[in-house]
Amino acid sequence: MNFDPEFLRACVESAWMIVAMPFLVGFGIILSYLFGGLKLGEKRSFKTAAMMASIIAVAWGFFHSCFIFEALRSNPSYSFQENFDFFTCQNFKLSVGFLVDNLATMMLIVVTTISLFVQVYTHGYMREDPGYARFYAYLSLFTGSMLGLVVSTNMFQMYAFWELVGVCSYFLIGFWWYKDSAAAACMKAFVVNRVGDFLFLVGVIMLLLATKDFWGGGTVMAFAAQHGSAGVDLAGALHRALEAGTLKPELALAASSMPLMAILIFGGPIAKSAQFPLHVWLPDAMEGPTPISALIHAATMVAAGIYLVARAYPIFLAPNGGTDSIALAFVAVIGTITAVMAATIAMSQNDIKRVLAWSTCSQLGYMMAGLGVGAFSAGLFHLFTHAFFKAMLFLGSGAVIIGCHHEQDIRKMGGLRKIMPFTAITFLIGTLSISGFPFLSGWFSKDEIVAAAMHYNPVIGWILIATAGLTAFYMFRLYFTVFEGQYRGDHKAHEVTPVMWLPLVCLAVPSIFAGGLLGFTKEAFLEGGKAANAWSKFVYFNHPHIEGVDWTVLGVSTVVALGGIAFAYLMYVVKSITWNKSIVESNNIIYRFSLNKWYFDDLYGAMVNKGILPLFNNTWKFMDTVIIDNIVNGASLVTSASGEVLKYTQTGRGQYYALVIFMWVALLTWIIYIASPFA
C-alpha cells in the first residue's frame, strides 16, 4: 500500500493526539463520576460509554501509530519533534514535547496494541465489578502516561511521565482497596519505585550539572537534536562535556563521573523494570486485576526501564562510543543476576500469576543483559516479542482464574485443556514462545541476546543459557499443572466468553510470527552470511547491527530449552521423575530459599520495620519532644518562675517603694563614686 507522503507527515506531526486522547477520556470518566454521583457508575449506559470511549481512544492511537510507522519506514532518515516551554526563567528552561523516531514508534505500536487488546479483554474480565468504569478511567490514564513517556523529548519529561505511570500502577494495583494485601502491595510498589526514582533524580541532576552549558540553546537534556535549530542531542552534549572536562570518564564518587551518573540513572530502571535488588514490588503487584498485570506489569510499564536505558544509551557508553563501558557492564550484570534469580524463584511458586510475574522479572533481566552487552537491537527486540506473548500469557491466566472461579493456586487446577480449549492453546503458544521453542518469536529474540552475551562474556552467556533451561522448565511446569492431568478444583470450571479469548487469539499471532518476520534473514540463517534483519534495520543505535547466526550458541540454547521442556514433561505429565515431591517434602534450604523469594521481602521488611522506623521514631522523639520542647517549655518555666518570685516585690505599700527607690539611688551613687575618675 502506498500512502500520500503529506498525509503520513501530518500523522507524525500530530502524534501528540495519541497521548492526549486517552488522558482526556480518563479525566472525562473520573469527572463525570465525581459530579454525576456514584450512582452514575452503576448505570449500564455510563459503563458502556466509558468502555467505548477508552477503546476508541486507544484504537485511534493504534492506527495512528501504524501510520507513523509507515511514515518512518518509507523514509528512513525521518524523525520529528516539537517542544514547548514548561518552566522558564532568566537562564533556565524546561521543555516538554513529543519526539517521533524509530525507537518511539516501535514503543508506540507495542503500547497501543497491548493496551487495545487488554481493554477489549477487560470488558469481559471486569464485567461484574462495581468499579468497571473507574477501571477504564485508570486504564486510559495509564495508557496516556505510558505513551507520553514513550514520546518524551528529554530526560525531564521522561522523569515526569515515569512518575505518572508509576502512580497509575499504584491506583491499579490498589484497585480493590478493601483487600489488605492489595493496599500493602500498591504502597510497596510505589515506595520501592520511589527508591529507584531517587537514584534516577540524582543521576539526572548530575547530568544537568555536567552538561548545562552544552545544549546550544536547545532543549535541555534532549534525547535527539531538533532539525534546523541550534539544539544538541544527548550524545553531542556528553561529548562536549567530556571535552570540556565537566564530565570525567572514570568511575568515582563525584558529580562529574560519567559511569556513576549512568549507574544512578539506571537506578530508575532497576526499580521500574523490577531488577535485582529492587524487584520485590513486582510479584506483589499481582494483587491488581489481571488485565493490569498483563498491560502494566508485563508488557509496557515494566519495559519502560529498558526503554529508558535505550533512550539514554549515550550516557552508558564509554567515552569513545564503545559498548565496553563500566556502566554497561553494570547493566549486564544486574540483568543477568535478575534473570537467573527470578527463574529460580519462579520454579517453586504456586500462584499462577506470581509464576508469570517472576518470569516477567527474569525476561526483563534478559533485555537488560542484552542492552548491557551491547546488543541494543536484540534487547529491544526481546522487549517487543515478550510484550506480546507475556501479555497473552497473563490474559490467559486471567481467563483461567475466571474459569476456575477466582482460584489462583495452580495446585487446585489441572486438566483445563479440555474445558478451556482456546485459553489452553494460546497459553501453550505463549509458553513455547517464552521457552525459546524453535521458530517462535521468543526463540529469535532471546537467542540474539544470548549469542551477543556469549561474545561479550562467556560467563554471562552460559548463565543466560542455563536460565533459558530453567525458564522452559518452570513455564512448562505451570502449563502442565494447569492444563494437563486431572482437574483438582472444588468448583466446576468453564471456558470464558469470546470477548476474553479473542484478544488471546489475536495476541497469539505476533507471539508466533513476529520473531520470524522481523528476526529472520535468508543471508544470515541459510547462507551463512552476515546481515541485518528487518528489526535491526528499524530499531538500532547509530547504525544497523549486522550479525551472522552463531549456530553453536543457538543450538546449545535450543537444546537446553528443549531439555527443560522434556524434564517438565517427565516430571509433571509422565511423572517418571519425582524429584519435585522429594524436594518439597525434604523442605531443604534450597527449596526454602526459592519459595521465600531469596528472603528479600523479609530482609527489606526487617530493615524498614526494625531498623529505619524505630530509628526515626527514637531520633524524632529525642530531638523534638525531649530537647527542643524542653528548651522551649524550660524557657517559659524560668520566666514564670522568676515572675512568681518577683511578684512578692509588688506589695503596694508606699514606704516600701520609697525604700527601694532610695536604695537604688544610693547604690547608683556609690557605683558612680567608685567608677568616677575624680575619686
Binding site: F87, C89, Q90, L164, A183, V195, V202, I205, W620, V632
Partner: protein, 524 residues
C-alpha cells in the same frame, strides 16, 4: 478603574468587613457567614482584576499609594504597592481565604466573632504582602498574631491554650528580632549617609546593598531568624504541629496556606532582596538548613499517629524546599522556591481541609482509632484525598512537582555547587534532600492506606457520610488549581519570575564582587 484605588480598597475591605460582621445586629449566624463569603468572593474578584491590570508590568512596583504620616525622627509612611511577586501572593491570599471561609461551616459557636477575626487575619496578610514600607510591614506582620491567637485559643481543640500561647511566644520572639534588625538597618544606613536612611522597601532594596558585609549579616540575621520561625524551620518548628493540631480546620488552612508564606515571602523580599552579602556568605548554610528541614520534617511525619500532625510536619518538610532553593542562589531554584510557596499554599490548604473533613466525621485524628477502610463510606472524599496526597508527594502534572524539580535542578547547578570551595558540601546536602522523594511517598501513602484502604471497620458502618456540596466545591477548586499550575506553571511563573530573576541576579553579582574583592573571604 484606577488600580491603585482598587488595591487600597482590597486591603481595607476585610478590615471594614471585620467591623461590620462583628457589629451587625442580626442574631442569625448565617448572616455573618454569608457576609464573610460575599466579602471573600469580592476580594477574589478584586485581586484578579488588579492582577490583570498588572499584566506586562510584573517586574516593577505598581499601583503605589504613599501617605506620609510621621516625618521625624523616623519617616513613617503608609505605603502600599504590588509587583508580580506580591501580586501572586495577594491572589493566593484571597483564594485561600475564600476557601477557608467556605470551609468554616463547622464553626457553630460565636460565629460573628469568628468571621470578624478571619477578616482581620486576611487584612494583616494582605497588608504584609502589599506593604512597601518596612515599619508598616512589621506592624502588619505582628498584627496577624492577634486574630490568630484568638482563633486558636477560642475555637481550638482541647489543648488550645497551650498551642495558642506557644504560637504567640515563638512568633513574638521572632517579631522582636525583626524589630531590632529593622532599627539596626536604619541606624546603619543613617550612619553611612543620613539621606540614604529610609523605610521605603523599594529604596532599601537598592541602598542597603551598600552596607558593609558585617552590617548586612547582622541585620539580615535578625530578619532571617524572624522569618524562619514563621516558616517554620528546624529548630524553631515545634509551634507548628501544636498550633495546627489545635486550630480548627479552616484556620489550619490559612495557617499552612498563607501564614507560613509570610515567612518565605520575607525571606525572598527582605533577606535576599536587601542583604545579598548574607546569602553570598552563608548561602550554603541556608541550603543545608533547608535540606535538614526537608529530611527532618519527613522523618517526623513517618512516626506520627495523628493525621493532622503528619500534614503539619509535611509542611515543615516542604517549606524546607524554599530554604534550599533560596540558599542555592540559582536563578532556577529561587524561582522554583517562589513557585513552591504558591503551590504549597494550595496543596497544604487542600490537605488540611481533607483532614478536617475526616475529623468532622470520625471525631478523631488518631490513625489507629480510625483503623482504615473509610473508602467504603466516603468514596468521593477518597478521590480528593488521593489527589491531595499525590500533589503533596510531588506527582508530575500537579504543582508540587514543579516546585520540587526546579529547586533540585536549579540548586544542583547553582554557583555554589560548582565552586571548588562549597561544591561537595552543597551537592551533598542536595543529594541528601533528594532522599525526601522516598520518605514523602512513604508517609503520604502510608497515611492514605491507614485512612482509606483495607476492610470496612464495623464501628464506622452507617455513621459516616460522603462529601457535601460545599466540601466538593472547596476541594474541587483547590484540586483544579493544583492541576492547572502543575500542567501550565507559566501561569504563575510569568507573574513573579521577573522579580525572582532580579533578586537572584543582584545576589549573584554580589558573589562576583566578593570573589574579586580579596578583603572579604567567605567563611566556609
Amino acid at each position: 478603574m484606577d488600580n491603585a484605588l482598587l488595591l487600597k480598597f482590597l486591603l481595607f475591605l476585610p478590615l471594614v468587613a471585620a467591623i461590620v460582621i462583628a457589629v451587625n445586629p442580626s442574631k442569625d449566624d448565617k448572616d455573618a457567614r454569608g457576609l464573610a463569603i460575599f466579602v471573600s468572593s469580592v476580594m477574589v474578584l478584586l485581586s484578579l482584576v488588579i492582577g490583570a491590570g498588572l499584566e506586562g508590568h510584573y517586574g516593577g512596583m505598581q499601583f503605589s499609594t504613599v501617605q506620609h504620616w510621621i516625618a521625624s525622627p523616623f519617616p513613617i509612611n503608609f505605603h502600599i504597592g504590588v509587583d508580580g511577586l506580591s501580586m501572586s501572593l495577594v491572589v493566593l491570599t484571597t483564594v485561600i481565604t475564600l476557601m477557608a471561609v467556605l470551609a468554616s461551616y463547622s464553626i457553630k459557636t460565636r460565629v460573628k466573632l469568628y468571621y470578624a477575626n478571619v477578616m482581620l487575619l486576611t487584612f494583616s496578610l494582605l497588608g504584609v504582602f502589599v506593604s512597601q514600607d518596612l515599619l508598616q510591614f512589621f506592624v502588619m506582620y505582628e498584627f496577624e498574631l492577634i486574630p490568630m491567637y484568638f482563633l486558636i485559643a477560642i475555637w481550638g481543640g482541647p489543648r488550645r491554650g497551650y498551642a495558642a500561647m506557644k504560637f504567640l511566644l515563638y512568633t513574638f520572639f521572632g517579631g522582636v528580632l525583626m524589630l531590632a534588625a529593622l532599627l539596626y538597618t536604619y541606624t546603619q544606613l543613617y550612619a553611612m549617609d543620613p539621606a540614604a536612611a529610609t523605610f521605603n522597601m523599594t529604596q532599601l532594596s537598592a541602598s542597603s546593598h551598600a552596607l558593609p558585609v558585617h552590617a548586612q549579616v547582622i541585620a539580615c540575621l535578625g530578619f532571617f531568624l524572624a522569618f524562619i520561625i514563621k516558616l517554620p524551620s528546624v529548630p524553631f518548628h515545634t509551634w507548628l504541629p501544636d498550633a495546627h493540631v489545635e486550630a480548627p480546620t479552616p484556620i489550619s488552612m490559612i495557617l499552612a496556606g498563607l501564614l507560613l508564606k509570610m515567612g518565605s515571602y520575607g525571606l525572598v523580599r527582605i533577606c535576599m532582596g536587601f542583604f545579598p552579602a548574607f546569602f553570598a556568605e552563608y548561602g550554603p548554610w541556608v541550603l543545608a538548613l533547608g535540606a535538614i528541614n526537608i529530611l527532618w520534617g519527613a522523618v517526623a511525619c513517618l512516626v506520627q499517629k495523628d493525621m493532622k500532625r503528619i500534614i503539619a510536619f509535611s509542611s515543615v518538610s516542604h517549606m524546607g524546599f524554599i530554604l534550599l532553593g533560596i540558599g542555592s542562589l540559582s536563578n532556577a531554584a529561587v524561582n522554583g522556591a517562589i513557585f513552591q510557596m504558591l503551590s504549597h499554599g494550595f496543596i497544604s490548604a487542600l490537605l488540611f481541609f481533607m483532614v478536617g473533613c475526616v475529623y468532622e466525621r470520625c471525631h478523631t485524628r488518631l490513625l489507629p482509632e480510625i483503623g482504615g477502610g473509610l473508602a467504603f463510606q466516603m468514596p468521593i472524599l477518597f478521590y480528593f484525598w488521593m489527589f491531595a496526597c499525590m500533589a503533596n508527594l510531588g506527582l508530575p502534572a500537579l504543582s508540587g512537582f514543579v516546585g520540587e524539580v526546579t529547586i533540585f535542578y536549579g540548586a544542583y547547578t547553582s554557583p555554589f555547587a560548582t565552586s571548588s570551595l562549597h561544591g561537595a558540601w552543597t551537592q551533598g546536602w542536595i543529594v541528601a534532600a533528594c532522599v525526601s522523594v522516598i520518605l514523602t511517598a512513604g508517609y503520604m501513602l502510608w497515611l492514605l492506606k491507614r485512612l482509606f484502604y483495607g476492610p470496612e471497620q464495623p464501628k464506622w458502618k452507617g455513621h459516616l457520610y460522603d462529601a457535601t456540596m460545599t466540601e466538593k466545591f472547596v476541594a474541587t477548586t483547590l484540586c483544579a488549581l493544583t492541576l492547572l499550575f502543575g500542567v501550565a506553571p507559566h501561569l504563575l511563573t510569568n507573574m513573579y519570575s521577573k522579580v525572582g530573576d532580579r533578586i537572584t541576579s543582584e545576589v549573584l553579582n554580589r558573589i562576583q564582587i566578593s570573589q574579586t574583592d580579596t578583603t572579604t573571604k567567605p567563611n566556609l
